[in-house]
Symmetry: C2
Subunit: 317 residues, 2 copies
């Protein structure tokens, strides 16, 4: 059942011993939402614990270092930023069908919880949680503000992407007026800092970029042989897809990774106009209009030729 | 003489045939301020012309394509985002001592104009111009909003840097509520798009990065021999200094470019704590706390050893 702020307030004020579930492969938004909500519940005198199927990456320590919470038998089960119980990882079995309150901003939310506060236009789940706290009149501590800012900033590419709402900017303005937080330092760690290995790998992978269709399509294809030569696994190439749309005239970028011999995982990015989800759907994939993916079988040359042709059609050429 | 909004309004409402000077090596803020102010004057029925010592780079076409303005003998001389008449380039001789109104946000403003509206805390000159228009009650057209947004976004690294004010976020929020502008597209062109040559050069230059002082200092040193090998000039390495502080533990980054045999131009970046301007001042350079520069003479090894030692001291080690 979908609910509004008033019912959410009622739930939060009356819950106790809450477990707050974040999604697997945790990112800035679910961690910020989890630890931000934990702070808000603490203000209400309610203890809670933030859990995740995976470890929280070290770079988010400034949010998680307050501790995930003590061990207790939970009464309230809350999920944040989780569109589908599958994304709970190892916690799906325990909590997948028992979530009482879900707070989320994903259009694709499966409505799996007893009560769901869904705001699909929100930049981030953290934007919704900030607004709940304001609605409830609960004090937002400095640590809570840092968590909620981080979620909004990371999900919006630091206010760069389409999904950035006016509200996201308003919240950032309110926070900058109210808290002595080193926002620039958070942004540096979220958006600029990389490992030396990552920097060198980006450089090597970029060297592999090819332009097609007069520069409108950029492809980075990495075969298993190349990975052997670069001494990397396909997983180490996660997050490299945006590198494919760095060029000025590029409309579509594709990162192709050979996961098994002649099986390519393809990650698409669209700079502006082309709906890459539609292209991926023609071969059983999917995703969002500007970021999608699919698997393709065949030789590198055949797979590439197929994709180039599909993009050519999508460009209306 | 420094003035406030009221006197600025009086000047703008009563001027005619204005020339608006932007600084040499024009960036998003001075171009946005120039063309934004031109739009505001047009709303008041005042014709103006935007001039610059250098050509406006092509990537800013979405602002400049409305045209710099017709040719006329100017009566009013306005400078935007120019701290020092020297930065007018070839126009210094003609207008350097004749500026009637300067609108600027640089602390280092030389107070060279008859009247100066200086807001040194503002993120960008475009932030000030937006607020003047609001103060005056002049309509801000869609094109004007695009210009002013671009200046605020580019000078703040898309709301990433320390200089980002709450007001910058509020203006972005107001614009997103009021205009049908493809902000994400502007951001892509300002912050993501690079030329293929630039991407490959960044990759090569990154390969040269060395870590010192246990990773707290990163140095990229490019000698004339290396430039010959990479087939580049020192000027092509402009804007590469931020690459030196990409690593997580890096406190200080230095880009060293050998401009003449044994003469190194050194660009410093500080991630957070160290005042690199103070380091540069010890050898006659200067700048801001987080971005500064100096020239050093000597062999590469001697120059590097000197800088490493200076940074070690600044780190209190």
């Amino acid at each position: 059942m979908f609910i509004g702020y008033s019912e959410t307030e009622t739930f939060l004020r009356n819950c106790r011993d809450a477990v707050i579930i974040t999604h697997q492969s945790p990112d800035g938004d679910c961690i910020g939402a989890g630890f931000g909500l934990k702070d808000i519940l603490a203000e209400l005198g309610i203890r809670s614990r933030v859990i995740c199927s995976d470890e929280f990456p070290k770079r988010y320590n400034f949010m998680t270092s307050t501790g995930a919470g003590e061990d207790f038998e939970p009464e309230a089960i809350i999920a944040v930023d989780i569109a589908d119980p599958k994304l709970m990882g190892k916690y799906e079995e325990i909590y997948g069908t028992k979530v009482q309150l879900c707070i989320d901003h994903h259009e694709s939310n499966k409505n799996y919880a007893e009560k769901t506060l869904l705001r699909e236009k929100a930049t981030a789940t953290c934007e919704i949680i900030y607004d709940i706290a304001k609605y409830m009149g609960v004090t937002i501590t400095k640590h809570c503000a840092m968590c909620l800012y981080t979620g909004i900033a990371t999900d919006s590419g630091c206010f760069r992407y389409d999904c950035t709402t006016p509200r996201a900017h308003e919240i950032a303005a309110e926070m900058k007026r109210s808290y002595d937080i080193n926002f620039a330092k958070i942004n540096r760690y979220m958006f600029e800092v990389k490992s030396l290995g990552r920097i060198k790998l980006e450089a090597k992978v970029t060297e592999l970029m090819e332009e097609h269709l007069g520069g409108k399509l950029a492809v980075i294809a990495v075969t298993q042989d190349m990975m052997k030569e670069l001494k990397i696994t396909p997983d180490e190439l996660e997050g490299f897809a945006p590198l494919t749309i760095q060029l000025e005239n590029t409309e579509v970028g594709i990162l192709m990774r050979e996961r098994e011999p002649n099986v390519f995982k393809c990650s698409f990015r669209s700079a502006d106009q082309v709906n890459v989800s539609a292209i991926c759907q023609t071969v059983g994939g999917g995703g969002h209009a500007k970021a999608a993916g699919c698997m393709i079988e065949g030789s590198l040359e055949d797979a590439k030729a197929y994709l180039i042709n599909a993009v050519r059609k999508a460009l209306g050429e």
